[in-house]
């Protein structure tokens, strides 16, 4: 075969030996180049690039060791086998041959059969090396291609994800630059009333399959949070979307949390992530346990979107982490685990050092740094963020409708499962003059609606929320009563009037409940600073005028522009 024909360089100072070797090699069908010393050999190699070299060790002018070294250097990564021709027998000399880059020896007197066999063996080795190099270069090209694709994907993703509020002053987070392709996802956004939503997700697998679900999840999260949808609604939509688009066996372990600065509450849903923690200012901790299957596993009708609610005081922090921390593995295949994490919490004195202390502990445990962990911490702050929560709308430059009224009545069946707030907010934001105060509008709507529903329709006692135990009882009862709600209604009355100069919205929220002693409750709220107190005073602060009529069953508020 033509491809078996090699160019073989023979460097040998004895003419008879050179002639004998050349003849043997040429008879095998190879092309032969001959050199009488090392210097000639190096020059010939540079010129002709033979594939194999037979090199006498001791030669005048330049010996075989030096020539072999130079030839190997010129050959670079390609394997050019050098077979040393030698009658040297001392092991020291043989070692020198190897050190100079020799691949094999051939002893004098020459044996044709052995020489031919050695040339064939070296040729196999040379081809193997060439194949390896070729494949390595191919892999390198593929990898480069993959990385550039990932860069593009990441850039697109960052456009989506960076519309969030991870840079808010009360958030501290840590995420590796490869997080997206490790399946880790970290999102944060305000809803229209300034509540902060945080999502930490961990998709199964690695690489593009793990990253692909992040985009739709982020879009649902940002889109729905901005429109004022509740956590259960967002969770349902995220689960349904992932279930629809991801193949079976791919899912997203996630914790979704919302922090309300007005109500000073934390609402959490954890499906498949390690315990998160509510770290209290007094050093105690509340574990936020996974109570659900991950997102994208269950069909919509089986999905459980129930959240847990915790009171959260200024100085308290929400802490979430991915399993990269707990599953950091040391050389003995031990996992970092929960106990070591809790020990870091216990030893922590300065909250702002916590991340560093966790990283240091993991690094010390593994003996090297771990680069695929995600952590986020969200602190409770005083209200003051409200103005910084922009409500998204597309400004068409139109004034919008300026003279209209509408009333809506939502009855028990609807109240059980439907959240009317995003719908009402969208409607009201058609009025251009109201867009600048979308956040305040949503907050007042949300406050009056939850008052009407919880205290009016369902007759829940807000004084329960005075301590932490009562607090969780309150939200448990709220869930139970809502689930079996049979009677009652909440009505919204909207009245919009305006002209080119300005206008006003008159808002009424009416419920089917028994009403309350308005004067007494308002007076009480001035005094209280419990978990329950904020609602009505917030409404009074945010709206132009507000009042309660018909024994507390109808709340009125006005917005002007």
């Amino acid at each position: 075969m033509a491809s078996d024909r090699l160019v073989v360089l023979i460097a040998e100072d004895s003419p008879a030996d050179r002639m004998l070797l050349s003849t043997i090699v040429a008879r095998e069908g190879h092309r032969v180049l001959t050199a009488a010393n090392g210097l000639e050999a190096v020059a010939l190699f540079e010129q002709e690039r033979p594939q194999l070299v037979l090199m006498d060790a001791l030669m005048p002018v330049m010996d075989g060791f030096e020539a072999a070294r130079r030839i190997k250097q010129m050959a670079g990564e390609a394997l050019v086998p050098v077979i040393f021709l030698t009658s040297l027998t001392e092991s020291e000399a043989l070692v020198r041959c190897l050190e100079a880059g020799g691949d094999d020896f051939l002893a004098k007197p020459y044996n044709r059969v052995i020489l031919v066999a050695k040339i064939k063996a070296m040729e196999r080795l040379r081809r193997l090396q060439a194949t390896v190099l070729e494949q390595r270069d191919l892999i390198a090209r593929h990898n480069e291609h993959l990385l550039s694709e990932q860069r593009v994907a990441k850039a697109v993703f960052d456009k989506v994800a960076h519309s969030g509020c991870l840079d808010a002053p009360n958030i501290r987070y840590l995420q590796s630059p490869h997080a997206l392709f490790n399946g880790d996802l970290l999102l944060a956004a305000y809803n229209p009333s300034g509540d902060m939503y945080v999502l930490l997700g961990d998709f199964t697998g690695h690489g593009l399959p793990a990253a692909i679900g992040a985009m739709p999840l982020a879009e649902v999260f940002y889109g729905m949070a901005a429109k004022g949808h509740s956590m259960p609604e967002i969770l349902r939509e995220m689960n349904a979307k992932l279930k629809r688009i991801l193949p079976v066996g791919v899912f997203c372990c996630a914790t979704l949390a919302s922090v309300s600065f007005q109500r000073r509450t934390l609402k959490v849903w954890n499906g498949g992530l390690p315990d998160g923690y509510l770290l209290r200012a007094d050093g105690s901790r509340e574990p936020l346990v996974s109570r659900h299957l991950p997102l994208g596993v269950l069909d919509a009708e089986d999905f459980d979107e129930r959240c847990e609610v915790f009171p959260m005081a200024p100085g308290d922090r929400l802490f979430l982490l991915s399993d990269g921390v707990l599953e950091a593995e040391n050389a003995d295949h031990q996992l970092f685990g929960e106990q070591r994490l809790l020990a870091v919490f216990d030893a922590n004195r300065q909250p702002q050092r916590l991340f560093d202390e966790i990283l240091t502990a993991v690094e010390r445990f593994r003996g090297r740094a771990q680069d695929d962990l995600s952590m986020i911490e969200v602190g409770m702050m005083d209200v003051g963020m409200l103005s910084s929560a922009p409500v998204p709308f597309v400004d068409t430059g139109q004034q919008g409708p300026l003279d209209w009224s509408a009333s809506f009545e939502f009855r028990a069946e609807s109240l059980r499962s439907f959240n009317p707030l995003p719908f009402l907010l969208q409607l009201l934001l058609e009025v251009r003059g109201l867009r600048g105060q979308g956040g305040a509008l949503y907050s007042v709507l949300a406050e009056l609606y939850s008052n009407a529903l919880e205290h009016g329709v369902m007759e829940l006692d807000s004084s329960l929320k005075r301590d932490a135990a009562g607090f969780s009882r309150y939200y448990r009862e709220r869930g139970e009563r809502l689930a079996c709600l049979e009677h009652g209604f909440v009505r919204f009355h909207l009245q919009v009037r305006g002209d080119q100069q300005g206008g006003r919205l008159e808002l009424g929220v009416e419920d089917s409940g028994k009403g309350f002693d308005v004067a007494r409750v308002l007076a009480e709220q001035e005094r209280l600073d419990g978990f329950c107190g904020r609602g009505l005073s917030l409404v009074r602060a945010l709206s132009k005028r507000c009042a309660w009529e018909r024994g507390g069953t109808l709340a009125r508020a006005e917005f002007h522009w």
């Binding site: 002639m19 006498d56 001791l58 009658s87 007197p109 044709r112």
Partner: protein, 118 residues
Amino acid sequence: MDDQHLDNAVLLGLQEVMEDEYPQLLETFINDSRDRLGTLQQALGAADAQTLRLAAHSFKGSCSNMGAPLLAGLCRQLEDAARRECLEEVPALLERIAAEFAIVSIRLKGELQRHRFG
């Protein structure tokens, strides 16, 4: 054939490999060896142990390839003496090498004759 000067089996092998170029190989060896003997003499005159060693080494290699075991053995002794820098052993060895080469060269010339006309 039991011959310390020339191994007939080796010669037969060479003949098989070289085919038509066999005589040329023998001539090349004879001429090259003559040159090497000259080199060795000069190196002895100059008391150049390194040149002696290299030339003896190379000569030894060709002798073994051509099937001249006695001559190869003498070259090895010379190489050894040069490595040890015992130049006083060299003149006697060189004399024995010259004598042995004379025998080998006569035998090879006979081989050439036989090959050409036989």
